[in-house]
């Protein structure tokens, strides 16, 4: 993708601004789904064996690989707990969200 993805919600002032055909103009990144979460995953990196399983199974593409380590993107993580369940080392803990 050449164009940089923006986390901005697109709105129209009037119908004249709208495209002729109903087409997508931006990504869903504006929708910060992290707010859906009640419990959040926390990775204990000291026990991580870098198997990549948490990254592989995240249905929200919310686990990034940063400097060869898994890193949870809390802006979008919905807190389903799949990564904690699948982690062979059991080094991901689901902790209650403080709000």
């Amino acid at each position: 993708m050449s164009k940089k993805k923006e986390a901005r919600k697109i709105t129209f002032e009037s119908e004249k601004e709208m495209p002729v055909a109903p087409m997508s103009l931006g990504s869903m990144l504006y929708n910060k789904t992290g707010a859906w979460r009640n419990i959040k995953p926390v990775i204990d990196l000291s026990r991580c064996i870098k198997c990549g399983i948490c990254w592989k199974f995240c249905p929200d593409a919310s686990i990034d690989i940063v400097d060869d380590w898994p890193q949870i993107n809390y802006v979008y993580c919905k807190g389903c707990g799949l990564c904690a369940e699948e982690c062979p080392q059991k080094c991901i803990a689901m902790v209650e969200e403080e709000k």
Binding site: M1, K5, A7, K9, I10, M18, P19, P22, M23, S24, L25, G26, S27, M28, L29, Y30, N31, K32, T33, W36, S46, R47, C48, I49, K50, C51, G52, K56, F57, C58, P59, D60, A61, S62, I65, D68, W69, P70, N73, V75, Y76, K78, G79, C80, G81, L82, A84, E85, E86
Partner: protein, 298 residues
């Protein structure tokens, strides 16, 4: 663990699905799309009929996929994909893959006629059915993909579904398609491999993806992958491919199949089942497994 160890990456790192989409927590369908696109790559156009993914993708003018999506009517996933393919052929684009991405309602029930038409014409599309075994998007109504014994809102506990799941693979195999495969979100490497293989083959390719749905199956969101894995390990959803309508290959040879009860007990939709009903389901699964083994020449 040692700091020097490299991260084990077994599937492509490119992401074509961005976070922020509208799927439920632990959604099997969104994971299925993420893995499928890792296999198909950037040069893909998706046709999505009414199904969960029509919602997951997001409201106008936003989209959670980095590739073009064409939203079409419920029954027209396959025929829209055929049309997009014909359009691409007109402008001389033979590289782009056209993916029809329909749920089980849009494949087993409503879209079957269009799918059969496309299969008969052998249009150059990849048709994927992500199967969550009911009309989950509209409120868990029974579809012909709903398995025997399951609760849905239209088959309540007292009158739970008594009919068998439709054998869609059998129907598609009878069309003699160049490539048919089943894939599961619990086996990402196998799934990505199958989509990659499908991309290289010409003609109608059909892939049946098993995508657990925590909301509709009344299971815990964290059990999505576990359920998909159990479905394969119990023989309920075997992983196999059919090439040219005749060559069957079993991809995962399960030596000791787990009892189906292990798979059923994790889901609230099967909670009402009694011992003898579970035995009946076990017999059905056994019979289907034997049939597939026979077809694979094992």
């Amino acid at each position: 663990m040692s700091k020097e160890r490299k991260m084990t990456i077994t599937i492509p790192r490119e992401e074509y699905m961005s976070p922020g989409h509208l799927a439920c927590q632990g959604c099997g369908a969104s994971l299925a799309m993420r893995l499928a696109l890792k296999g198909l790559g950037q040069k893909t156009i998706v046709c999505i009929p009414a199904c969960c993914w029509a919602v997951i993708d997001g409201p106008f003018p936003h989209s959670s996929l980095d590739i073009p999506i064409y939203h079409c009517a419920f029954e027209t996933a396959a025929s829209s994909a055929s049309g997009v393919r014909a359009g691409l052929d007109m402008v001389g684009d033979t590289e782009t893959t056209v993916l029809a991405w329909a749920g089980d309602g849009g494949t087993f029930d409503i879209g079957l006629q269009a799918l059969s038409g496309a299969a008969e014409r052998n249009d150059d599309i990849v048709y994927t059915c992500y199967d969550n075994e009911a009309y989950m998007n509209t409120g868990i109504q029974r579809s012909s993909a709903t398995p025997i014994g399951a609760w849905t809102t239209t088959t309540p506990v007292k009158h739970y579904k008594k009919e068998r799941k439709k054998d869609i693979i059998g129907i598609m195999a009878a069309h003699g398609l160049p490539y048919i495969a089943t894939a599961s979100v619990a086996y990402p490497e196998d799934m990505v491999k199958k989509f990659r293989k499908a991309r290289e083959i010409r003609g109608t390719r059909f892939i049946h993806v098993f995508a657990p749905c925590p909301a509709g199956w009344k299971s815990r969101p964290e059990d999505t992958v576990k359920l998909a894995r159990l479905a394969v390990q119990t023989g309920y959803f075997p992983l196999f491919e059919i090439e040219n309508g005749e060559r069957w290959t079993l991809n995962l040879k399960v030596k000791e199949r787990k009892p189906i009860a292990e798979y059923l007990k994790l889901q609230g939709r099967f909670r009402h089942l009694k011992e003898d009903e579970i035995t009946l389901i076990q017999q059905e699964v056994d019979a289907r497994w034997e049939k597939i083994l026979k077809n694979c020449g094992l």
